[in-house]
Each structure stands twice: as C-alpha cells, then as structure tokens.
Amino acid sequence: MSMAGDGPIGAEARAGAPHGALGEGRRRHVPDRLHGPLRRLLGSWESLLLVVAVAIFVANTFASPYFLDPWNLSDATFNFTEKAMIGFAMALLIISGEIDLSVAAIVALASTMMGLAVQYGAGTPALVVIGLATGLACGAFNGLLVTRLGLPSIVATIGTMSLFRGIAYIVLGDKAFSGYPSSFSWFGQGYVGWVITVELVLFAVAAVIYGFVLHRSAFGRAVYAIGNNPVAALFSGVRVPRVKLVLFLLTGLMSGIAAICLTSRLGSTRPSIAFGWELEIVTMVVLGGVNILGGSGTIPGVVIAAFVMGLVTFGLGLLNVPGIVMSIFVGLLLIGVIALPRIVRQLIDSRTARRSAAKATVRADRGEARS
C-alpha cells in the first residue's frame, strides 16, 4: 500500500490511504477545503459551516414558535453533547489516518459495566471510575491491535465493535440495568446554573482541551504529520505507534465519559444503548471539515458541525419529523459536504482546461498565420 504516497506534507496533497479513493495515475488532490476564487468568497470551511448553522437557526425560528425557548434550546444540546465529546477524539484519530468504529460499542460496554457495578452496590465515584476505566481498556485494546499487530483500524474496530457490544449482550441479554444512585444523575440531568447543563459544560471544556492539544501542542503537530505522511513522520522523529495508541486511548476515554453522561441521563442500560452512534459521530467529524483520508481538519469545525447536526435534528423534531427520516438528512449532509467541494473543483478544472485549450488553439492559429 502506498502509505508513503507522493504527497508532500501539506494540507491538500495526499495520496494513498488504506481505503482511500486513490485511483488513476495522475496526482490526486483531495480537496479538504475550497481553493482559488471560491475560497476567497467563502473563506474557510468553518465559516461556511457557521453560515449554514445560522441559516438553520433562523429557519427553525420561523418554522416553530417553540424553538427560541431557552429551556427547549437547552434540551436540544443533549442531541449532540455526548456524541461531540467522542467526536473531538475521533477527529484527532481521523486526522492521523485511523478510524474507530467501535466507539458506540464502547459506550454500551462501559454503561453495562457501570450497571453491573450498581447491582453490587457501587456508589457514584466508583461508577465514574468504572466507566472511565472500561473506556480506556477498550481504547487500549483497539490501539494495541492497530499499533502492535498492524491491523487496518477500520476492520479491527469493526471486529471490536461486535466484540464490545457482544459482551454487553452476554452480560445483559434482553434485560436492563437500572437503579443508579440519585447522585449519579448529576452528570446527565444536572444544571450548573440557569439552563446551562453539566453536559454542555463538559462539552465546552472538552472542546477547549482538544482544540488546544490539536492546534497548540507538539502532539497536535505530530497528529497532522502522521496523517499527511506516516513514513515521513517516523523519519522526522515522531513516535508514530505511540501517538496512535494515545489517540485510541483518548477515544476510549471520551467514549467512557459519554457513557457516564448518557447512562446518567437515561437512568438505565440496555445492550442496544447508543446504537448506530459511530456513524453519526463520523458524520459529525467529516461535516466539520476533517478529511476522512487524514491530514487535515480543525476542532472549531467539529464544534460547529455538532451544533449544525443538533439544530437540524432538534428543528426537525419540533416539526414532528420522525428520527429515521432525519437520518436521510444526515446521510445527504455527509455525502453533500464532501461532494460539493469536489464538484466545484471539477467544474473549475474543466473550465480552466477549456480556457487553456482555447488559448492553445488561438496560439496555433497565430503561428500558422505567421508562417
């Protein structure tokens, strides 16, 4: 596999990902953001997203009279806070060229373990420790499979996805755990003040930490370097396997935190908890401008994408659109945001090609006239 592709370390040229759309012999540009005149027009992907978010907000305001109620808006944040917390770690993982499809299964397993502990009379601090430890253990397992055994992360985590959720099913079967201590409900149901939920604060703190790590630390630079060219990163002294292992651990940890919040909010655990979240989280990250082939993306982008997805689902929910129909929008959004820059680029390419062809003809005509 051409992991050591011909792309220089730069945001846009990157060839060869395990599952990349790498194809014909010509050099590929994977446009993670717009170029040329359009870029000047729209600025960055993040500002484009922000415009979309504001547009959806305004549209929702007109569509439903209940939208602008602060308590409603506060409730709406539950649509994305837990998923977005995992999304931050997933963003780093995808930027580094890996992926973790087992995150929702980790949430299920961590929730199951916490439920199991409750049956033995564990208190809230013990539950938090168990949730975080389960997440870390699962992340370590994924990370070791990828870094030690060299397995492609997409299949390895499809396997662990079945394994982790499978263990939850073995423990729970068709039953459910409940009876969590009342102090445990603080994480998912508590308020810090007025309409600001505990989860929203956790989300904001996570966003700041991950933003700092990715954009302001040496570790973040290493993540970008690995995503752009793992071999070059290795030769420039980046400990690639260790960085990747840390990223899988972080993803596991964030899944553990999300499991604590979700379990606390729902007050019960079924093995099917958080089913299908992995796809929504990947969608959120990609919508946030993270290149699925790795190498580029920002945390502010993911934050705005979280709000966009939360607003869309909340707005549609107010209009009584069933959840499954919302998933059509999510799917269209996912394909649309990736397809749009490519279509624009193809149009620009074909226009410049035509223009240069026309110039060449003119030149040839002149040449003939002279001779």
Binding site: S2, G23, I158, S162, T283, I328, I335, A339
Partner: protein
C-alpha cells in the same frame, strides 16, 4: 492460475504434484476449510446429529443469503473499496418488492425477482458513481447511503410492516420450493458461487478487480479504468443485495424498516474471515463462501450446544479480529518472500 493464491512463482519452481499439494494445504482456503471442519466436529461432540447431511444442508440453506451477499461484497473489497450499504439496500428493495406484491399480487414472481435485481443494481450504481465520478472515499459514500436507504424505507412504507398474510403464497413459497432435494434458496447460493467463480477467475472484469485492488496506479498503466471497474463492482454488489432483498422478505415472510439491520457488518465479517484482504487485491470465491459458512455454522450451532444466542455477536467479533490478525501476518510474509526472490535473482 488462481490469482488469490499467493506466490505462484514458488509453485512453478518446485514442480510436481506432491509440492503442489503441500502448497494447497498451506493455503489460507485450506486452513479455513480445516477450521470449518473442526468447528463442526466440536459441535458434533456435544450434539452428534449436527453433523448429519440433512442438518448440514439446513445450515447451508440458512447461510445462503449471507453467502450471496459476501460474494457481492468480495467484488467490492477486491477493488479496494467497501460497501456498508448492502443490508440497507436489501431492506429497501425487500420492502418495495413486498409492497408491490401486497398491492398487485398478480405480478409474476420472476418479474418481481428481476425487478429486485434491477432496483438493487440501481442503488449500487449510486454508490459506484459517487465513488467513480466524485472520487469520494467508499466508506463515506456507503455510510451515507446506508442511512439514506434506511430513511427511504420509512418514507415508502410509512413505518408500517408488510406481514405474511399480505403476501401472495407464490411470493413466500419460492425460496422454500424443493428442487432435486435442495430448496431453491440453496440453489441460488450455489449458482451465485459458480457465477462468481467464472466472473472472478475467467473474465477480464475479474482480472481487472485484482489489478485495481492490488495496485491502482499500475492498473491505470495497463489500460484499466479504475473508477469504472469499481463502479461495476458496486453495481454487482447492489444487484445481489436486491436479489437478497426479495429472498429475505419472502423467506421470513415479513418486511419492515429494520430488516437485516447491522447485517452489513456480518457480510464484511464473512469476507474478512474468508481471507479477503480489506486492502484489496487478495481473496478467493472459496474464501468468501467458507467465511460465510463459518458464521452461519456458529449461528446455527449456538442453540444446539446450549449457548445463549446473545453470545453470537461477541463470538463473531472475536472471529473477525483473529481472522484479520492472521491475514495481516500472512500478507506480510508475502512481501518478504518476494524480496528474497528478487535478491536471489539479482
């Protein structure tokens, strides 16, 4: 020569039937066949009747849909892509076919089956065109179409079920109809295996799949249209998904939004267990067949040996991880052998 087997040059060097036999025994397919026999043997120690021909035929019949889907997925994976939308495609086509049958029972079943194949192929073409023309990573495309297809099922069905009594008797009985001692469902799986053998090993398209998956850059220089080959693989995967859509709803005599939910991962798992490399270019029809049979056998064996069906997910997850780990090791070995040979030659 079978392109899935590794190191054909080493076969030619030690000529003779004995070494060729040894080579075959060392191959992944033989290992997998052995694992399958051991699995059946283990189950038979607890429940001897499990190894009877009738029961094994029943297991094969129960795995038939998975086999057909795995063969379609194999074509896609060989070309270094992946199709996660197969189960959603199956469910959508199954729903449309079931609703058509419920509304107009007069439409002949053959027409319905052909309609299912055509619809499935059209849905597959959406994936293929997005991958080919817009160059979007296949995993993103099919994650997207997976959710879109599921959503569309809800839109067309309004969330309602199509139940057994609404389907015509002919619609429900076709997969069950016996022909030469086997149900039609089993025969379809057998035909699919034979068809895939010819397609993969005896046609330019099959060769192109291995070339595209093995080295897309090199494939371009040999005159292969990489995008078009991948698109055709997606169309083929879509067509079998559509066919399986009819088979699924007629076999279980019910159609609803969540039909075969999560089955796309079983299909990928069957391929991975069957030794088809997720990085493309490596894999055999026999591997896909046995990978699917392996999962099907586990599923059927669990109740026989008195293990809760809730264990199935964890077991298939473990099987996937073990299989990928084994594949990764043997693929690395291929690289070493080629390098050593090149050194000797130089």
């Amino acid at each position: 020569m079978n392109p899935g087997e590794r190191a054909p040059d080493s076969v030619s060097r030690h000529s003779g039937a004995a070494s060729r036999l040894a080579e075959t025994l060392r191959s992944r397919d033989a290992l997998l066949a052995l694992a399958l026999v051991v699995l059946i043997g283990l189950v038979a120690t607890r429940a001897p009747e499990f190894a009877s021909p009738a029961r094994l035929a029943a297991v094969f019949n129960d795995s038939a849909i998975l086999i057909v889907l795995a063969l379609g997925q194999m074509l896609v994976i060989l070309s270094r892509c992946i199709d996660l939308s197969m189960a959603a495609n199956l469910a959508l086509v199954g729903m449309i076919v079931a609703m058509t049958n419920a509304a107009v029972p007069e439409v002949p079943i053959v027409v319905l089956a052909l309609m299912a194949i055509a619809l499935g192929a059209a849905l597959g073409a959406i994936n293929g065109l997005l991958v080919w023309k817009l160059d979007i990573p296949p995993i993103v495309v099919t994650l997207g179409t997976l959710t879109i297809f599921r959503g569309i099922i809800f839109l067309v069905s309004d969330g309602k079920w199509v139940n057994a009594h609404e389907m015509s008797p002919a619609f429900k009985s076709l997969p069950r109809t016996e022909f030469l001692g086997l149900p039609v469902l089993s025969w379809i799986a057998i035909l699919a295996v034979l068809g895939a053998l010819v397609l993969v090993n005896r046609t330019p398209f099959g060769r192109a799949l291995y070339a595209v998956g093995g080295n897309p850059e090199a494939a371009v220089y040999t005159g292969i249209d990489v995008g078009r080959t991948r698109c055709l693989a997606f169309v083929a995967a879509g067509a079998v998904s559509g066919l399986c859509g009819y088979l699924w709803v007629s076999r279980y005599a019910v159609a609803y939004v969540d039909v075969a939910a999560g089955f796309e991962l079983d299909v990928v798992a069957a391929c991975v267990i069957g030794g088809i490399s997720i990085a493309g270019g490596i894999g055999t029809v026999a591997g896909a067949l046995m990978g699917a049979l392996f999962l099907g056998t586990i599923k059927n064996a669990l109740p026989v040996v008195d293990i809760s069906p809730f264990w199935q997910l964890a077991i298939s997850g473990t099987a996937i991880i073990v299989a990928v780990a084994l594949n990764a090791r043997s693929e690395r070995r291929v690289g070493r052998i080629i390098l050593r040979d090149a050194e000797k030659g130089a």
